[in-house]
Symmetry: C2
Subunit: 333 residues, 2 copies
């Protein structure tokens, strides 16, 4: 059935039912005063800092339905916002979704989209609290996530010379996955699954963000634009410089296996890995490494010098140059 046959209100009813079925009576979903079906969502605020973040995914700009399934799209559209909450050290609570759809969109596809969102939401106790659907020339998903923070925030502006620079998980998987899918490469099934999940089903590092806060870390960003661009954001906002040992970067193993020498560039400049990039005292980071199930790798150091400058070296101390510095919207290349 087409969306145009079901109609907007039919679509809202369908989605509201899907969400209610997924959430009603489930532990971990705080009750709303007002949920889907009224003019706005409402909930009782607690005595805590509220967090909010918004991101849009637009067809043929941020994703292609040739390389991303509707279910993956739903997962990812929520994941990128949860990642922003993770990068603040916060706990996500609720999401609002604004969905723009071409009139000939299949309703089953919209259901799959929501299934992906609900699956991820369940994993982290995030309620879908309502939103808006409308006609659009291309698929467009804007998710707003609200969260709270109790103890301290991870900011981009808190890096200090002498801080170690570290990242969660592995890098380069998203760029490699996108290239594999768009060029139609066929590595082994295991590698293909790993790379496809890297680009289409990123894991927001929520537990890690909260662990960082608990261990005294105060500086972090999520890697959405690429390691180098996001590190530059930290350096500019903290008025510091950085040096990176590129040989220590935790490149995702399948990326090296499929792309060889190009893997390092993918890890440095490919966007959308949604790992946390953070800085802090080495002793704190050692304790975090011991406690975290997710790998944590130290890759360099914050220094004084030109604010925003990043120098790359290999493990022998030789300078390294790379070709481009990551993803930025609008800018002509």
């Amino acid at each position: 059935m087409k969306v145009s046959e079901l109609g907007e209100f039919g679509l809202i009813d369908l989605l509201a039912k899907m969400i209610a079925e997924a959430q009603d009576g489930q532990p971990g979903y705080p009750p709303f005063l007002v949920g889907i079906g009224d003019d706005a969502a409402a909930w009782q605020g607690k005595n805590r800092t509220q967090l909010a973040t918004v991101d849009s995914l637009i067809e043929n700009i941020h994703f292609s339905l040739d390389t991303t399934s509707w279910e993956e799209l739903g997962w990812k559209s929520l994941a990128v916002n949860l990642s922003d909450i993770a990068a603040m050290g916060g706990t996500p609570e609720y999401a609002l979704v604004s969905l723009g759809l071409p009139d000939n969109t299949e309703v089953d596809d919209v259901s799959s989209l929501y299934r992906g969102m609900i699956e991820l939401g369940k994993r982290y106790g995030v309620s879908l609290a309502g939103g808006d659907t409308c006609s659009s020339p291309v698929v467009m998903i804007t998710v707003t996530v609200f969260g709270t923070e109790q103890d301290a925030l991870l900011l981009r502006s808190n890096a200090r010379p002498g801080d170690a620079i570290a990242v969660t998980g592995h890098l380069g998987g998203a760029a490699a996955g996108l290239e594999m899918l768009s060029r139609g490469l066929s590595p082994s099934a295991e590698i293909a699954t790993s790379l496809r999940e890297s680009i289409n089903k990123p894991t927001p590092r929520l537990a890690e963000g909260q662990l960082l806060v608990g261990h005294g870390i105060r500086t972090a960003i999520d890697i959405s634009d690429g390691f180098l661009v996001d590190l530059r954001h930290i350096c500019e906002m903290s008025r510091v410089s950085a040096r990176i040992d590129v040989d220590r970067l935790p490149v995702l193993p399948p990326v090296r296996q499929v792309f060889g020498d190009k893997a390092l560039e993918m890890a440095l400049t490919g966007g959308e890995d949604y790992e946390l990039l953070f800085t802090g005292d080495s002793d704190h980071i050692t304790r975090i490494q011991a406690e975290s199930p997710c790998p944590i790798t130290v890759v360099g150091e914050i220094t004084g010098g030109n604010p925003g400058e990043i120098r790359l070296f290999d493990s022998s101390g030789n300078p390294v140059k790379i070709r481009q510095s990551g993803w930025e919207h609008f800018r002509k290349r």
Copy 2:
């Protein structure tokens, strides 16, 4: 200058500066713990109910740049969300904006867009707290507004048989304005301005929403889809029926002057008037009428009977039929 020449981060810097200049040190803007430039906005929640709502405006679906200026578009994209907060009886506090723009968009136009948003935000003490910008095939604006509520909420589900049905302000102006602009009609300058503002610069009825709550009203909706469609939402969610005296509808006078007999249909079915439609005790409404600077008109009564059914009569008691029932996305007509 084109957006593509300035780049995303240049654009964010520009917008952050505009917003900071408009808000810094101004009374009525609650301070953020974290504002624009980090991964998410953060603020200290108070001991009150938080409200949140989101709406998207998409080029050539919700608006055309032939008939809406960029500044009007900015105003309107915030106004439609503030109207949702008004329809809950709440107070808006913060907004997040996700902006999708074609690469060849003029930066001056984006500044105008924000000027319109800032102008309306200032009027109601609403901070622009950050957001997201990205490339898009058409202009796309998604605004999320956060607010609070202290005493009680206006819901769609609280209407009871015997309630009077009333509306704020006048109806039909938005539909008439859109028709005037898209057909290139040229009424007198005064009428043209009134109709243009009706469609492009709606006034969110925030003070009125709060006044309703204060006088014991508990049922309201904002007229975004059209008087009849939105009244049907109230009737369906409250499991009641309604009868309307169409001769009592407060049709905006210029609509009658330009469109004659078609004015009534515009008032009943035209969307986007963003007036409040509410129900409640007649005595309460009489007191509200005495206190409100904005006209309040009683137009009918909530009755028992088929949930969602709306019967129209003229003042002689004869049944009235109209051709269509309002605006709905996706549905083929």
